[in-house]
Symmetry: C2
Subunit: 133 residues, 2 copies
């Protein structure tokens, strides 16, 4: 019983790339099974990129604000107590990730959320955050 799954499937890695290539034991069966279940690289990259974009406080607040109402750049800047320039830069990033869309009305540009999943993402994240407080 002292020799569970953690030892018997471990073999010296021939293509060891870890650290200074000491002898390293890896559970190859388990690892290759996990590799088979991983999402393809481009998908992982896009997921990471999406989370990253949501992971800046200014952008988080913009998303929250836009989930409550359609707003122009001035409104958002006033709301967040920051400059129109800073907001505009962040809105470009959100636009590029298709997280917000915009509508022009004369000189003004009104922004709103582009995607219904975003609210679900925030709801789920909120649930995690509020779990331990």
């Amino acid at each position: 019983m002292q020799n569970k799954d953690s030892r018997q499937d471990r073999k010296k890695a021939p293509d060891c790339t870890t650290d200074t290539c000491e002898i390293v034991y890896v559970d190859h069966k388990k690892v290759s099974s996990v590799i088979r279940r991983m999402k393809p690289e481009p998908v992982v990259q896009r997921i990471a990129e999406t989370f990253k974009v949501l992971g800046d406080p200014t952008r988080t607040k913009i998303i929250f604000a836009l989930s409550a109402a359609e707003l122009c750049v001035c409104d958002i800047a006033s709301l967040l107590n920051t400059t129109r320039s800073a907001v505009s830069h962040q809105l470009r990033i959100l636009r590029n990730m298709r997280l917000v869309k915009y509508r022009k009305e004369g000189k003004m540009v009104f922004y709103s959320l582009d995607d219904s999943h975003i609210n679900n993402l925030f709801t789920e994240c909120l649930r995690h955050v509020e779990e331990y407080d």
Copy 2:
């Protein structure tokens, strides 16, 4: 009809903090309504922090891997083709955010996901990512 909601509630902001404080029109009614609906600052910060932690490709992959199986540091490093040190650093960050937990077995440390919401977050994010391809 040419004067819709975008103009009539806009007033010069007395506490204008945007740019060089030119005359700036803000829809105060709308803005204060949105402010009332915003989450409190610490909650926003924690949400942003959580997304940020998930927004690094290495950490994204670690989470994906751990959602498939419990793994030790060596397994993960082998899986991601990186060093144990790099993985260990990232695992510390994930641990601090209570996203992963660990279990020691002799010299080895086995990591697994700590939170059921994480899988939901990834599922929802995947849905967004796969929408436009």
